[in-house]
Amino acid sequence: MSPLLREIVLRLGAGVFTLVAASALIYLGVSALPGDAATAALGKDATPDLVAGLRKQFGLDRPVLERYGGWLSGFLRGNLGYSLPTGVPVTNVIRDKVWNTVVLAGVTMALLVPLAIVLGAVSALRPDGTVDQSTAALTLTLIATPQFVIGAILAVVFAVWLKWLPAVSLIDPSRPLISRPSILVLPVLTLLASALAQSVRMIRATMIEVLELPYIEAARLNGIAEWRLLLRHALPNIVAPAIQVLAYNVPWLLGGVVIVESVFEYRGVGLTLITAVQSRDLPTVEALAMLTTVAIVATSLCADMTVILLNPRLRRRA
């Protein structure tokens, strides 16, 4: 097997292992906690008899490993469980909403990548220059502000005062999401506000390191202009770390999506997760947590693969 192939297989294996371990963590971890689906369903008026009866009904009296196995194998076959109060299959509940969240996260990432690279690169080129200082000040502010605060303020400014954009992002299932780009603007802006802050700082730092590499120094001494330096010599070196930095941000981004969907009533899986948590619908919560992890591991794997394929010499992570 070629070294490249072996590397890929190793990464894939690690990814699968992570997923299985995460599933165990989620399912068994929840089982270890004092509450379970039965007490959650009965709430404050749970008597021991009622709880016992309901546990039997939900199959919670079987050994935990058996239940875990059943849940995991069901998950792999596409059965995500049944929502608690209503018994509706989770797949039905989230079917239309997964795409909405994918679009939201996708659009954000699509804007995040170029913006972060440009801002990070320019800041790095002139450390402590105007761009750098102002970006740093802005990012420092935004990274601090919780997303629900940013979201609420944006909603008031753009939707209620200026009336440029809708305050809630109601998705009409009968029309494609792309046909109404205006409902994406505020959620994406809110997500970008905080995600940019993180990413710009990381790219800037990486860029500074790259710019200090010996051969860049040499090129500079040879009289090559800064901009050309940046574009033809520095940027190619930053692609790989940049991909990794951005992939690193994905877990954080997905967490942000949950809040943002709640603020704007954007019908995606984040909002479903919150409602499920508030009504203590454990099967839905576990399924969505697992899905999120799958998305993250998949993205991370893709990022790793891209990096490997781009530069076979980058076998080991920094």
């Binding site: 992570t18 371990a21 995460a22 963590l25 989620i26 971890g29 929840v30 906690l33 004092p34 509450g35 379970d36 959650a40 420092l140 502010t141 990274i143 601090a144 502000t145 919780p146 997303q147 629900f148 605060v149 609420a152 303020i153 909603a155 008031v156 209620v160 993180q198 700082r201 990381m202 730092a205 990486t206 500074i208 390191e209 990794q244 930095v245 690193y248 877990p251 954080w252 997905l254 967490g255 949950v258 809040i259 709640s262 997760l273 919150i274 499920a276 948590v277 508030q278 203590r280 619908d281 454990l282 919560v285 576990e286 947590a289 999120t292 992890t293 993250i296 591991v297 991370s300 920094a318």
Partner: protein, 298 residues
């Protein structure tokens, strides 16, 4: 990562507090550090002393809902006609306490775990790293949400959950530091002397961790504050009718266009707190020679 430990490495001399104190003093000497300290101090004072200054009980009905700010009610009233100023003054204490508690718990668990893994190496080390990486694959908020779904909304669970998601990050950092410090001579000497791992950790490693701790603390605390307030906003932290900054934003959001102050003031205060913490953290980082972000640490 290496420059993070510049101080601890160079100072066999600097084996404990003196190095940390020096760092602290130099940070406060910077503009950013001073500003950060001031902001954080102000907000914390507000959070802890506020309840004593509140003119009304935070749950008493004093006027009609969404009344405008006036002499009697500096922040107007909220959705139920309760005094906005009183609720604001009483709304920070739990947030501050829960965030600090979560961060503290994260360190109490993470530092020993990381140090232990770093000194021991081998299987223990690999295991610790593996579990940390695993936890990092699940978004912090989602993880805590799962816990809360199982146990029900509860403040203690929020703190525990947040601590749980911060532990892997803390473990990674302190494991890395430990590995570096452990390579230093005085530790090798101690190991050669046959001292137990625990004793090595406590007597040789930990005293050198203060500077790293101070630099990292800001990140953990900011993350905790944002998580606690976000969970409050979602109604999963303190239950009504408690006064809570995050909860105040969601409770009164419906009257945003009429009485924005009751939302803007608590929200902005949370932001000021995290901003101040970030300023301090940045000041620490600069003092340590380089931005901590370079290694992808947060």
């Amino acid at each position: 990562m290496s420059s993070l430990f510049a101080l601890s490495r160079d100072a066999e001399v600097a084996r404990s507090q003196p190095a940390a104190l020096m760092l602290l003093r130099s940070v406060v000497g910077t503009r950013g550090g001073r500003a950060g300290a001031l902001l954080v101090g102000a907000v914390l004072a507000l959070a802890f002393l506020g309840p004593f200054l509140a003119p009304f009980s935070p749950t008493a009905i004093v006027d009609t809902p969404f009344a405008q700010p006036s002499k009697a009610h500096a922040l107007g009233t909220d959705a139920l006609g309760r005094d906005g100023l009183s609720r604001f003054l009483c709304g920070g204490r739990t947030l501050a306490l829960t965030s600090f508690a979560a961060t503290l718990m994260a360190y109490l668990a993470g530092i020993p775990l990381g140090a232990f893994a770093g000194v021991r190496g081998g299987v223990v080390d690999i295991g610790a790293v593996a579990v940390s990486d695993l936890m990092l694959a699940i978004p912090s908020l989602v993880f805590v949400l799962v816990l809360l779904a199982a146990v029900g909304p509860s403040l203690s669970m929020v703190a525990i959950g947040i601590a749980a998601v911060e532990v892997p990050r803390v473990t990674r950092i302190f494991r890395a530091i430990t590995v570096e410090v452990a390579a230093l001579e005085f530790v090798e000497v101690a190991m050669a002397r046959g001292e137990t791992t625990a004793s090595i950790v406590v007597r040789e490693i930990v005293p050198n961790l203060w500077t790293a701790l101070m630099a990292d603390f800001g990140f953990r605390l900011t993350a905790s504050i944002v998580l606690v307030s976000s969970l409050s906003y979602l109604g999963l932290g303190q239950a009504p009718p408690a006064a809570d900054w995050g909860l105040m934003v969601s409770e009164n959001q419906i009257g945003l266009t009429i009485q924005p102050w009751i939302i803007v003031v608590p929200g902005a205060t949370i932001a000021v707190l995290t901003f101040g913490v970030n300023l301090l953290t940045d000041a620490f980082a600069r003092r340590l020679g380089r931005s901590i972000v370079s290694g992808g640490v947060p």
